[in-house]
């Protein structure tokens, strides 16, 4: 550190890693994984406890807030965690900057569109009439 240089040691190294940033992404992946651990156990347990897996039973299940709210969380957190995971894989294996950007952008669009479709369907079940 030369005289008159007031930057801190952390300031000097921040952003210099091969990925330049990513601490938050890393942590988000972990936090969403813990959420999905809980929501995944909820989903499996719910499917096991339903008397039947026919459409009527599933509509009743997802029409009630106790089913609709965790399912909405599962969809949102699931798509987010999947997107974060795909970014790690793409960043690792796609060397070319342009191709990497294109892949990551495509994944972002897919995840947002897929999440919107799933949430819209869930909304129709949750707010619709029980057939």
């Amino acid at each position: 550190m030369s005289l008159g240089d007031s930057s801190t040691p952390i300031g000097k190294v921040r952003g210099l890693g091969s990925a330049h940033h990513g601490g938050e992404h890393w942590l988000t992946e972990r936090v969403t994984s813990i959420a999905l651990l809980l929501l995944g156990v909820w989903l499996i347990a719910s499917l096991l406890m339903l008397p039947k897996l026919d459409q009527r039973t599933l509509i009743e299940w997802l029409h009630a807030p106790s089913g609709a709210i965790p399912m909405a969380l599962f969809v949102v957190v699931g798509f987010r965690h999947g997107l974060d995971g795909m970014k790690v894989v793409i960043d690792d294996y796609v060397d070319n900057d342009g191709a990497r950007f294109a892949w990551n952008a495509a994944m972002l669009f897919l995840a947002v569109a897929g999440g919107a479709i799933a949430l819209f369907a869930l909304g129709r079940i949750a707010f619709g009439a029980v057939a």
Partner: protein, 131 residues
């Protein structure tokens, strides 16, 4: 003194020796990609089918009861449990624990056994109840 001899790069896929720990690592990735692409697609289709009425739901159940559909669903279930168990293992490793060779290997093998056992148990229950 500069050597022109081509040296192996690290990581070099053809030089890695297969072991439980690296298998757990790559299986975690592969199952994560399978769940993101296949799992979220099936989840979205399932919700859409439930919301869209008896015909759409019948199309969905026909597809997943087809032998090929069943293979996909069982594969996704296995991916789910494998990713869940290796995910828990990675969360533990994030704390700096279980890096010792023996426990690292043993825990990797345990995720393989656990994922298969949970998949078999779940499908034994589903096929026993739903049919």
């Amino acid at each position: 003194m500069a050597s022109t001899r081509s040296r192996p790069l690290s990581p070099h896929l053809s030089i890695w020796r297969w072991g439980p720990n690296m298998a757990a690592s790559i299986l975690h990735r592969a199952s994560g990609v399978a769940l993101t692409i296949g799992g979220l697609a099936v989840l979205t289709w399932w919700l859409w089918a439930i919301a869209s009425g008896p015909d759409a739901y019948a199309t969905f159940t026909a597809a997943v009861q087809h032998p090929l559909g069943l293979v996909v669903l069982v594969g996704l279930t296995w991916s789910f449990f494998q990713h869940l168990l290796t995910g828990i293992r990675h969360l533990i490793m994030d704390t700096g624990a279980i890096f010792e060779l023996q426990i690292n290997k043993t825990s990797a093998v345990l995720t393989f056994i656990g994922a298969i056992v949970l998949t078999v148990l779940l499908w034994a229950y589903f096929l026993g109840v739903a049919k």
